[in-house]
């Protein structure tokens, strides 16, 4: 038994590529070497596997060929294909086959290592020389060792700037030799060191989740602390945090302090350099910020006429007008209308051009600086929420109304211009907008009248409810066909119908609806436009008409179901006693109308034909 080391040395790999390699490596090693990958060690400059207790020979193999009874026809070809004679074939369990004795691991390693290199696949890969191999970044060395025997390559390499080639005397010493050469090969250990270092400097945060990337940005961990001039604290905090995190991969420590992870260098020099870079960025942001603030959110908002929302959809000033109108229709008050007027103002600001992810937030900060009430500012801040499937909803009422109005407008305008999402293409983010609108209604409790949505938009938006409401989709589809007046009402109805599905009243209403619909639904074009009571000749049909007149569709689902259930016995009698398809066309048309009225009255609760029974 031996220890095996395989190392692929690269130019600096992106963090994403490191993770992809670490994920794929165990299966690849198993496939190519027939062993379980012991330890997977990935840094930006190397992808390595260490396996202890490896057999020094690959296992014997038996390659299955044709069944014995076909030997005459097939044996020669099969043997030839595998470079042996027919006499060499060995039969097992009725099949001919070729015996492939295991080979020394050292002999197969070079080709297997090559297969591993070629077998790794990255979401972004490149060519770099005439070999044509594709990899995330150029491969510059490979090393394979069995115990102290070097099978492929010569040496490993230590830290890029503090150590050169590293001789590994024995595969089992790989990790310690690299550590001595300034490289921590184990990503988990680097993560642990980073966390320990961050904890030691203070209460750090990582809202943009850069830690995962930082683990793969260094081979050796030094956590350093830096500060910046307090005058930059005048900037919106999120601007400062974004400058630190997305540009520099720093960790905010609160106030004017930050932490970062270096890969080496003299700590004081490196700290001073990084502080200078961050201050430069913040200084640049301050220039932009001060120019914006001198103008103020009102003047910025006045410039929206010059910015196109998107082609055919007018300017952002036009959008603002439409959103204000929708805010009114959604019951928004003065604060919401004011927020709507200013909401897109930051799109005219320079700072949003630099920090596009902070749209809305920057506008809110500018509104605060202009002295607007907090309700207005908070609504501006929250207008794009929820911005992801599980993302938070606006917390303020004004924010909910503004967010819903913004999404309604985007959906309405986009659909009117024919920009419907197709397949995975959704350049205008309409799915997200529709899901957001549904969540504002369902989870946020906002009343979104369905009449505010043009038919196509309503269809598209309500289809999103099917994935959001936790009942079988048929109940949502049934509820979508109901007379529910608002988006949240559709969801509540779907839930209520599902909760009632096993009650006798539900059963009664369902049956009445179903029978009426089955019989009359197909003949709807023959039905009379209106019920003519004078044509109701039979007691049974008069009873249905009377019962129907007293059915109330107001109130909660339970009440409506109870009321609707009173139709069940009279309907049963009707179907027993009355022949709907009477010879007299007028009577027939009138009876069809009666059934359709039953269906449509009960149908105010939903389209029961959607629900499987």
């Amino acid at each position: 038994m031996a220890t095996l080391l395989v190392e692929i040395g690269c130019e600096e790999l992106p963090a994403g590529a490191c993770r992809e390699a670490a994920e794929q490596l165990p299966a690849l090693v198993e496939r190519e070497l027939g062993v379980e990958a012991g330890q997977v060690l990935v840094t930006p400059r190397r992808i390595a596997v260490l396996v202890e207790e490896v057999d020094e020979r690959t296992p014997d193999e038996w390659v299955k060929g044709p069944p014995e009874e076909l030997a005459e026809k097939a044996a020669v070809g099969f043997a030839k294909k595998h470079g042996v004679t027919v006499e060499d074939l060995v039969s097992r369990e009725g099949f001919l086959g070729v015996e492939r004795p295991g080979r020394p691991l050292a002999e197969v390693l070079p080709e297997r290592l090559d297969s591993i290199v070629r077998g790794l696949s990255f979401s972004k890969s490149m060519r770099w020389d005439e070999s044509g191999i594709r990899f995330a970044r150029p491969v510059r060395w490979t090393l394979a060792m069995i115990d102290s025997e070097t099978v492929v390559g010569g040496s490993s390499f230590g830290h890029r700037f503090t150590a050169g080639p590293v001789q590994i005397p024995h595969a089992g010493e790989y990790v310690e030799r690299l550590r001595a050469a300034g490289v921590e090969p184990d990503a988990e250990e680097r993560r642990r060191q980073i966390l320990a270092g961050l904890d030691a400097v203070g209460s750090w945060s990582d809202p943009a989740h850069v830690l995962e990337e930082v683990v793969y940005l260094v081979e050796s961990v030094t956590v350093l602390e830096g500060t910046f001039d307090e005058r930059f604290l005048q900037l919106p905090e999120r601007v400062v945090v974004t400058a630190m995190q997305s540009h520099q991969r720093y960790f905010p420590l609160g106030g004017n302090r930050f932490a970062f992870v270096a890969n080496g260098g003299d700590p004081d020099t490196v700290r001073a350099g990084n502080e200078g870079v961050l201050e430069g960025r913040l200084d640049d942001a301050s220039f932009t910020f001060e120019r914006d603030v001198r103008l103020g959110i009102d003047r910025l908002a006045e410039r929206l006429g010059a910015i196109t929302f998107f082609a055919g959809a007018g300017s952002l000033a036009d959008k603002t007008e439409r959103v204000r109108e929708l805010v009114g229709k959604l019951g928004g008050g003065e604060a919401t209308l004011e927020a709507a007027r200013l909401a897109k103002g930051d799109q005219a600001s320079e700072l949003v051009r630099e920090f596009p992810d902070l749209e809305g937030h920057i506008g809110a900060e500018y509104a605060r600086l202009a002295g607007y009430p907090e309700a207005v500012c908070a609504a501006i801040d929250e207008q794009y929420l929820p911005d992801s499937a599980g993302g938070p909803l606006p917390q303020t009422e004004a924010g909910k109304v503004l967010a819903a109005a913004d999404k309604l407008d985007t959906l309405t305008v986009s659909f009117s211009l024919g920009h419907k999402p197709t397949g995975s293409r959704d350049p205008y983010g309409l799915r997200r907008a529709a899901i957001g609108l549904c969540r504002l209604a369902v989870e946020g409790g906002l009343t979104v009248p369905r009449v505010l949505m043009p038919d196509e938009v309503r269809e598209f938006t309500e289809e999103r409810l099917e994935g959001l409401v936790d009942v079988p989709v048929e109940y949502v589809r049934a509820a979508r066909a109901s007379a529910a007046g608002d988006l949240g009402g559709v969801a509540r109805l779907a839930e209520a119908l599902y909760a009632e599905r096993d009650t006798p009243e539900f059963e009664a209403v369902f049956t009445a609806y179903d029978r009426a619909n089955r019989l009359a639904g197909r003949e709807a074009d023959q039905a009379a436009p209106e019920l003519d009571r004078s044509l109701l000749g039979e007691d049974a049909e008069r009873a249905v008409a009377e019962a129907l007149a007293s059915v109330s569709t107001d109130g909660d689902v339970r009440t409506v179901l109870e009321s609707g259930a009173t139709l069940a016995p009279v309907m049963e009698r009707f179907f027993d006693e009355v022949l709907v398809m009477d010879e007299d066309p007028a009577v027939r048309a009138n009876r069809l109308r009666l059934l359709l009225d039953v269906r449509d009255t009960l149908g105010r609760l939903g389209d029961f034909s959607q629900i499987p029974r």
Binding site: M126, W128, P138, G264, V270, G276, D283, F287, A311
Partner: protein, 279 residues
């Protein structure tokens, strides 16, 4: 600094070129890079390129934003195996002690849609400051490169700020007693006024079409080199129109497509004349 880089890369066998004679947004667009990196012939070059980006001007008020700055561009085609070591050695020539500083290669993939070009690479950080854009080209003008070139674009102002310990480009010492600000600040102010306020939109719009047409004519005559200049003029005209705020988001995509189509046709012609047109 420029002399040090030129000396180093000349010793590495690079042809030292001079800045190109029409406005470029980046040294990559210089035909010494864009065209020479196509085709099967090896090529090594190094040159300074003034990078003209009308949208980035700030009237000389913001010491971090300019409509013109300088790049030092190096191309090694094909990229030698130790290309990174050679690059790091150039930093040492500039006086950067690689052991005292924290030098890092941070993923930064490059894409230039107007040229149908992309590559993978890094931004090189020195103590957190980006001092070089580093790219292995993969496609130019929509064509796969035959020999993969390494492109190193040093940001000269940033490097100088770093080396001189200055916080802004304005304070940089150009020669003893003369600062960068004294040389370029007024020009920033005047060019920003032109780029943002005065550049004539209608004239430029027409000019874009003229350059486009001239490019096509030159291609028909089998002259990809002068045709490429017309691509560059189209690109700069587009940037000016953009700075003037005269281009909506959808028009933007159309303009980019038009320039890309020209760049692709020029690349195709160039390849037909200079080796086989792969890809």
């Amino acid at each position: 600094m420029i002399r040090a880089l030129e000396g180093y890369w000349a010793d590495e066998g690079c042809v030292l070129m001079q800045p190109y004679h029409t406005e470029l947004a980046a040294g990559t667009m210089n035909p010494a890079t864009f065209l020479r990196c196509l085709g099967p012939d090896p090529w090594k070059t190094a040159y300074v390129e003034p990078s003209i980006r009308p949208q980035d001007g700030r009237y000389g008020e913001n010491p971090y934003r300019f409509q013109q700055f300088f790049q030092f561009q190096v191309i090694l085609k094909p990229a030698p195996e130790d290309v990174l070591d050679r690059y790091f050695a150039s930093l040492e020539v500039l006086g950067i002690d690689l052991q005292r500083h924290d030098i890092r290669l941070v993923e930064d993939d490059w894409e230039q849609p107007t040229l149908g070009a992309w590559g993978l690479g890094w931004e090189v950080w020195c103590d957190g400051m980006e001092i070089t854009q580093w790219t292995y080209f993969q496609q130019l003008g929509g064509f796969d490169v035959e020999l993969v070139p390494a492109e190193m674009t040093y940001g000269l102002e940033r490097l100088a700020m770093f080396l001189q310990g200055k916080r802004t480009a304005f304070e940089l010492e150009w020669v003893p007693g003369v600062t960068w600000g004294e040389v370029y600040r007024e020009s920033e102010r005047q060019w920003s006024a032109y780029n943002f306020e005065l550049a004539p939109v209608e004239v430029l719009t027409a000019r874009f079409g003229e350059h486009e047409e001239e490019c096509r004519l030159l291609l028909e005559r089998g002259l990809p080199l002068p045709a490429y200049d017309q691509v560059l003029k189209c690109s700069h005209t587009f940037n000016l129109l953009d700075a003037r705020g005269a281009i909506s988001a959808t028009e933007r995509a159309t303009y980019i497509r038009r320039v890309r189509a020209l760049a692709r046709d020029v690349a195709k012609r160039y390849l037909e004349a200079n080796g086989d047109a792969a890809g």
